[in-house]
Symmetry: C2
Subunit: 251 residues, 2 copies
């Protein structure tokens, strides 16, 4: 489906599944919606932690239109699934959020690893969890994010095992794209960042690591959501994992 | 002078002059201090306008130490001169701001063109206003910045006339350094951005443009200060022009 077909299918409620592979070439984004009262601390957290939290856009309070990255879209309608949180607890999953919208809602759009993985594949580097038809394995590290006001927590990373020959190329490719997490934060030594068992990820699925492969760890877009939930905001809405917002921007 | 000599000389009040050329190799920064109440809008303005407002650091409210870029420094003492504003009017110039400090003071450090000009000179590109021992010419354009809350206004640019052969190289060099304004925003057509007379800059001094030279315009760090003043904050402190904060970061 191209972008306008995706918009129509999502907005009509016809498409409620993940967005991987939809509207090829367009940047996809993580969504975090918070009350204005918490927006300064969250914005500063993103500015201080650009690798896990690459800011694509921040909307004006109450405005559901992402004027910079998708002026024709409505963030209340144009994601296939949303999660609604109360006091840090996930209470509902819905396909539109018109009924939940507030005048003090500030929406944060953050870069997403779907873009990043398509760059690797186009660069000739196979991505294991896609080969194995699984979710990417993600781990809480013991690397602290830079705190900002009410927001603090550890960096979450995603892992992709790579052949030695692909590793340098993967660093080259991803380092050119800081809006989608940039270069890896660590390679080859999971224990150095507090990961003791690659087979037991904190989020997502374990994947096969073949002998001689080097695990490479990238800052992960789960970080800001995990940090936001941990601060128990009275009200928060996010996309459902994998059900991203598709911008009108080419990657 | 090296960095620790500069710190000592500035803190003791011995050095109250501009910082150009001091502590070579260290990033220098613009300083804007605002009350916490206005910090969200200003932070968002910077995020939305990264070319004129490259954020190096934002301090916690009331904390005078820039923990990220200069953990050994104190922003109340370590700039040679400050300007104090009340309701958007410049009321005083002082050499330290201990007596003016507030518990809700949030300090913004923004990239500065001193760094940028030394990169051009090291790249073999002469910088006219330095050759002529003048201040750089700066112009208000008719390009609007992206507004954020209470902050809105036009982009201010600085101009450096370049020989055609130096122009491509200057774009190459500066585009690698987004933290100090990055690539030019326009070259060769001042009227296209609302500048009608190069000999009458809005800030700084006019410089000679030789026949055949191309004027190149870069986003300028005066933009955020001009925008902040225009919003008439009840209280604001900035560095005095040219009297920058020197970080502990290498460029």
């Amino acid at each position: 489906m191209n972008l306008s077909e995706v918009r129509r299918a999502v907005r009509s409620g016809e498409w409620t599944r993940p967005t991987a592979g939809l509207a090829p070439g367009y940047l996809q984004a993580n969504l975090v919606i918070l009350p204005k009262r918490m927006a300064y601390d969250f914005l500063l957290f993103c500015v201080r932690n650009p690798k896990p939290c690459p800011l694509l856009e921040v909307t004006d309070p109450g405005c559901p239109v992402p004027k910079k990255t998708a002026p024709g879209a409505d963030l209340r309608l144009d994601l296939p699934r949303y999660r609604v949180y109360r006091n840090g607890e996930w209470v509902e999953e819905v396909t539109d959020i018109e009924a939940y919208w507030r005048e003090d809602a500030v929406s944060f759009l953050l870069g997403c690893s779907f873009t990043f993985e398509s760059l690797l594949i186009e660069g000739g580097i196979p991505v294991r969890h896609i080969e194995e038809n699984k979710n990417v394995p993600m781990y809480r590290t013991h690397l602290p994010c830079k705190p900002a006001g009410m927001f603090a927590g550890p960096l979450v990373v995603s892992m992709r095992p790579l052949k030695s020959k692909d590793l340098i190329r993967a660093v080259e490719i991803t380092s050119r794209h800081p809006r989608v997490h940039g270069a890896p934060v660590q390679v080859g030594d999971p224990e150095a960042i507090g990961i003791t068992d690659l087979d037991r990820p904190d989020y997502g699925d374990a994947v096969t690591v073949h002998p001689g492969e080097i695990p490479a760890f990238w800052a992960c877009g789960v970080t800001p959501q995990a940090v936001a939930v941990a601060s128990r905001p009275e009200w928060m809405i996010t996309h459902s994992p994998g059900h991203m917002f598709i911008t009108e921007r080419r990657r």
